[in-house]
């Protein structure tokens, strides 16, 4: 893989989208293609993005927080 391809995989992992868990946790598919050091970079990048997202949101909520609340509301319906 080229460094550019690895960067795109790291950015794919930073999304707050995770498939709903059934019997076991479902990971971002791209996470499995990353080496341990790149997974750590994905973690650091996600952490920074969430702070940025919260700063842009009128309620100070990141996409992770909003994804969780939406899942709770969907489960309740």
């Amino acid at each position: 893989m080229t460094p550019e391809q690895i960067e795109l995989l790291v950015d794919q992992v930073t999304t707050a989208h995770r498939p709903a868990s059934v019997d076991e946790l479902r990971y971002a598919p791209a996470w499995h293609d990353l080496a341990p050091a790149d997974r750590e970079r994905a973690y650091d990048r996600t952490r920074a993005l969430r702070a940025l997202e919260a700063a842009l949101d009128p309620d100070g909520q990141s996409t992770t927080t909003r994804a969780i609340v939406n899942r709770i509301k969907n489960l309740a319906r």
Partner: protein
């Protein structure tokens, strides 16, 4: 506002109050999982842990110390991460991964009006396509994956990701010029 102030509404089943609590608790719970980042998908563990916190919240009993629900969230998240290590047999569990959540040096992070203004200013300076990609992720809030977002924008997945990467790098450069440290992790 103290995070514990949301407890009565959360216990009563108010999902929006849980969202306000989450906004304050999420950064420190995520930070508590950093040592697992090489071997588990922290985002997946974090989201599942927070769903479990919501499920047990009606039975939550305070121990009298501040920030009880957040400390419980850290414990649930780290236990789930350890379970994931065992399930995936990624590596043996080390004692350091089983630290007492009460001893973790994690603190809720207060919103910073200056950071908000700087990020909004940098976002406003993005070229159209990178901004579309960034805004799509923000508006979607994890409801669908990047492939569906790309379809909605009439882009191929790779094009969408390249635009998102460009947005992230431009934001990092802009924030760096403003002397904001968050830009270092973004770039």
């Amino acid at each position: 506002m103290n995070l514990d102030d949301y407890l009565p509404a959360i216990v009563a089943g108010d999902a929006d109050a849980f969202g306000r609590w989450l906004a304050g608790a999420e950064p420190s719970v995520r930070d508590s999982l950093r040592s697992f980042a090489r071997v588990v998908d922290v985002e997946a563990v974090l989201q599942e842990a927070m769903l479990r916190v919501w499920q047990v919240a009606p039975r939550f009993a305070s121990d009298g110390k501040p920030d009880g629900l957040r400390r419980l969230a850290v414990r649930i998240a780290r236990n789930l991460a350890v379970s994931e290590l065992r399930r995936t047999r990624a590596r043996p569990v080390e004692p350091a991964d089983l630290d007492d959540a009460d001893e973790l040096a994690v603190a809720a992070i207060a919103p910073d009006p200056l950071l908000r203004a700087a990020v909004a200013d940098c976002r406003d300076k993005l070229p159209p396509k990178p901004r579309f990609a960034l805004d799509a992720r923000l508006a979607n809030a994890g409801a669908t994956d990047d492939r569906e977002l790309a379809d909605e924008l009439g882009m191929r997945l790779n094009t969408f990701l390249q635009n998102f990467t460009r947005a992230r790098q431009l934001l990092a450069d802009c924030l760096h010029k403003k002397g904001i440290a968050i830009g270092e992790e973004l770039g």
